[in-house]
């Protein structure tokens, strides 16, 4: 067997590699370079501009933590806006909630959705739910034209260095605030605290979100294929607190099957290491 490896630079001095059996797809879209590989350890995986987006093996961690944390704070959520998430993983998790009436998914790059439908049906199946409405346009532009329309906004973006750049700006977070109802919440992909460049992005995002929302907390998950494996999510809201307003009993009654998320882990995820807490406090 050929000794083929996919490598990603987590910093200029740290490289993360996965042995691959073959590259299934590679193409340049209008926005980014899209590739899909097969690997023995992580199964099939998707990269954008040479950066790991998801693997079949560990995507459940990211998608469960992005969706179930806010849903357990307000299980009565009916309308959801998702920015990015062209792989369908977030849609799949949202689809588990019968109370959700409508989900608008705004993905800038239609080619990502096409590629995932073709190669990653395990996540792209999320789009098959009739409540999911896909829009292929700029997230910032879409949200600018909405007002008090959503109970929850999920920002499933790439890193701030790629097409996801606008999803880390103050004007984007401000427009999210405007687009949310009075009990509204926003959860975003919040980068990593460990390597310097990711930590800078984490601090910038936290500072900007805290400047817009009265409640702005950060929680963590362990995602093996993301840089350092230690990944963060932002939880922001107009009033609901992610821990003191958590509704564990109500959520448990829904009887949803999860592999990473549980109601005790929900609380623990908001307990951050000291160096992370300090970095976030510094940025405020």
């Amino acid at each position: 067997m050929d000794d083929l490896w996919y490598s990603e630079y987590h910093t200029k001095d740290v490289r993360f590699s996965i042995r691959v059996t073959q590259q299934l797809y590679a193409a340049q879209s209008e926005y980014q370079h899209i590739a899909v590989y097969d690997s023995p350890e992580f199964g099939r995986f998707l990269t954008l501009d040479g950066v790991m987006m998801l693997t079949e093996r560990d995507e459940f961690i990211y998608h469960e933590m992005m969706v179930h944390v806010p849903m357990a704070v307000n299980p009565g959520i009916r309308r959801v806006l998702v920015i990015g998430a062209g792989d369908g993983g977030v849609a799949r998790e949202l689809g588990k909630y019968p109370g959700i009436e409508r989900v608008d998914i705004v993905e800038i790059d239609e080619e990502v959705v096409k590629t995932c439908r073709r190669f990653l049906p395990g996540t792209a199946c999320g789009f098959d739910d009739a409540r999911m409405h896909l829009h292929f346009e700029d997230g910032l532009k879409f949200i600018r034209h909405t007002d008090s329309a959503y109970d929850l906004i999920l920002v499933d973006s790439t890193d701030p260095s790629g097409p996801g750049e606008v999803l880390f700006t103050k004007e984007f977070y401000g427009n999210c605030h405007k687009a949310l109802t009075a009990q509204g919440m926003m959860v975003n992909q919040h980068e990593s605290p460990f390597y310097k460049e990711d930590a800078k992005a984490m601090q910038d995002a936290h500072r900007r979100i805290a400047g817009v929302f009265p409640v702005s907390e950060v929680y963590q998950a362990h995602i093996p294929t993301y840089p350092s494996g230690h990944w963060l999510f932002g939880f922001a809201s107009k009033g609901l607190h992610p821990v003191s307003d958590q509704q564990p009993a109500q959520w448990a009654r829904l009887g949803l099957a999860t592999r990473y998320y549980n109601t005790a882990l929900h609380r623990g995820a908001f307990c951050l290491p000291t160096y992370v807490k300090e970095a976030l406090e510094q940025s405020e």
Partner: protein, 486 residues
């Protein structure tokens, strides 16, 4: 027809590099090797072509080789009889236009909303300004173009005037009826000079206002480094067929460096080639960006991003659709306040804010996502900072009373007075509100209550007042009593 795919100066620099010429001449950094920190910062490529005049690279003061060829290509691309590469900014091109046209005591007709470089040139040559009162749009608070009846009246009242200067366009994108001004001025024996600091793209884009050379103007100062894409400080001076290019070159050499930068000159050569080959597509893209941003910004509410609907056939004869100017008074904020908020809160640097407007510079270098950011940030500024617009300054044209020529006043005996006590005196220095750098007071003009109020209001809103010896403009230099003849 010349071959516009050529770039003779750039090609000569490439030849010089590949020949590995051994430098025993200036500059002393010797292709960057003598200054590693600077080379690390700017790059080896850049330092390798920061060289001095030499036979294969020609000489800017006396072009006879590749610089002359490059200038000839530029002249053809711009429809001019001759083009000069300028390395002292468009300021140097404006000064060369005026200094090669006017002598001490000559009259020049011009609008008040000229760039400071024009009046600086009058200090140098001693000519006397005759201002055409420009109409002001009261809603927008901006000076417009020159209306033809005003131009005719001024020409009749000053039959000895030697030249007329026209902004083509103004900073805000407004054009006068240049073609008719040229016909009228030439019929009266005046030379027509155009300040095209904001008009490079008129020569290349489709459906844009007429360029100075196409309108038959005699000279034009063109900021290639703005919409043309060359390096900051590089510029072009264009001449029509009736101008003696050799005399103009002598005038340029009075003040221009003898060590013209090859970085700046090659950027002119490469940018000219790019515009000649790609200009139509480039400015189509810019127009589309601007049109999209205008319609989205107007949809936010309270802002007014203006466009060709302003055109009135006279004082707004045409409008430059690549410009994105937005009036901010509807949200109760001065343009300068919105300008500061965009930078401080949203990390967006725009070109300028004045008392009632902002201008975002759109160019070929823009990306859709950044245009979206600008629009969204403006939406947020309105949502978070909007206030009642009572008490906003209603800008009016402050008609200057010219008492002395700028040169006489500038060199006269003077004394310093607090701003409030200077009313009624003759100012001997400039006061500019920056940006956009158009004089509030020029040397030789009477200071009035209205002008002092304007200066105070502009300072309170956060404008930078530049020009006076006193750095914060709290004092002004005025003419010593009885020393009017300085």
């Amino acid at each position: 027809m010349m071959d516009q795919t050529r770039a003779p100066l750039y090609e000569a620099l490439e030849r010089m590099k590949s020949d590995r010429l051994v430098p025993f001449d200036v500059p002393g950094h010797k292709r960057g090797r003598g200054n590693p920190a600077l080379t690390a910062f700017l790059g080896e490529q850049c330092l390798a072509v920061d060289v001095n005049s030499m036979k294969p690279l020609d000489n800017l003061c006396h072009p006879s080789g590749v610089i002359r060829e490059a200038e000839q290509l530029a002249a053809e691309a711009f429809g001019a009889a001759h083009a000069f590469f300028m390395v002292g900014g468009t300021t140097s091109a404006v000064q060369a236009m005026l200094l090669s046209t006017l002598k001490s005591g000559d009259e020049i007709i011009l609008p008040r909303n000229v760039h400071q470089s024009v009046i600086n040139a009058l200090v140098l040559c001693g000519a006397v300004p005759v201002y055409v009162n420009p109409e002001t749009d009261r809603r927008l608070g901006i000076a417009l173009g020159m209306a033809m009846p005003e131009v005719r009246r001024t020409l009749a009242a000053h039959p000895a005037a030697k030249a007329i200067l026209v902004n083509n366009p103004t900073y805000y994108g407004i054009c006068s009826n240049l073609t008719e001004i040229v016909q009228l001025a030439h019929a009266h024996g005046l030379r027509v000079l155009a300040d095209e600091a904001h008009g490079t793209h008129f020569y290349f884009g489709a459906g844009l206002p007429v360029s100075a050379m196409a309108a038959g103007a005699d000279m034009a100062a063109v900021s290639m480094h703005k919409s043309g894409g060359s390096l900051t400080q590089s510029s072009l001076l264009l001449c029509g067929p009736a101008v003696n290019e050799h005399y103009v070159r002598q005038v340029i050499n009075l003040t221009q460096t003898t060590s013209g930068s090859y970085l700046l000159m090659s950027s002119l050569d490469i940018s000219r080639r790019n515009l000649a080959l790609q200009g139509v597509q480039i400015f189509e893209k810019v127009k589309n960006f601007a049109a999209y941003a205008r319609s989205e910004i107007n949809a936010i509410g309270d802002y007014y991003a203006y466009g060709s609907e302003l055109v009135n056939g006279d004082s707004i004869y045409d409008f430059d659709m690549t410009k994105l100017s937005v009036n901010t008074l509807g949200i109760g904020l001065a343009g300068i306040e919105v300008y500061d908020l965009l930078r401080d809160e949203y990390n967006i640097q725009i070109e300028f804010g004045d008392l009632g407007n902002i201008l975002a510079y759109i160019s070929v270098g823009d990306k859709t996502k950044n245009v979206e950011r600008l629009i969204s940030a403006l939406g947020e500024v309105r949502r978070l900072y909007k206030k009642d617009n009572a008490g906003m300054f209603e800008s009016e044209y402050l008609s200057p009373e010219v008492v002395l020529s700028p040169q006489t006043a500038f060199y006269a005996s003077k004394r310093s007075l607090p701003l409030e006590e200077s009313i009624g005196e003759v100012c001997t220095e400039f006061v500019m509100c920056y940006p956009p750098g158009i004089p509030v007071l020029a040397p030789g003009e009477r200071i009035t209550r209205d002008i002092v109020d304007y200066i105070n209001y502009a300072r309170e809103k956060g404008c930078l007042l530049t020009g006076p010896e006193c750095m914060d403009a709290s004092r002004l230099n005025v003419l010593e009593k009885g020393k009017a003849n300085g």
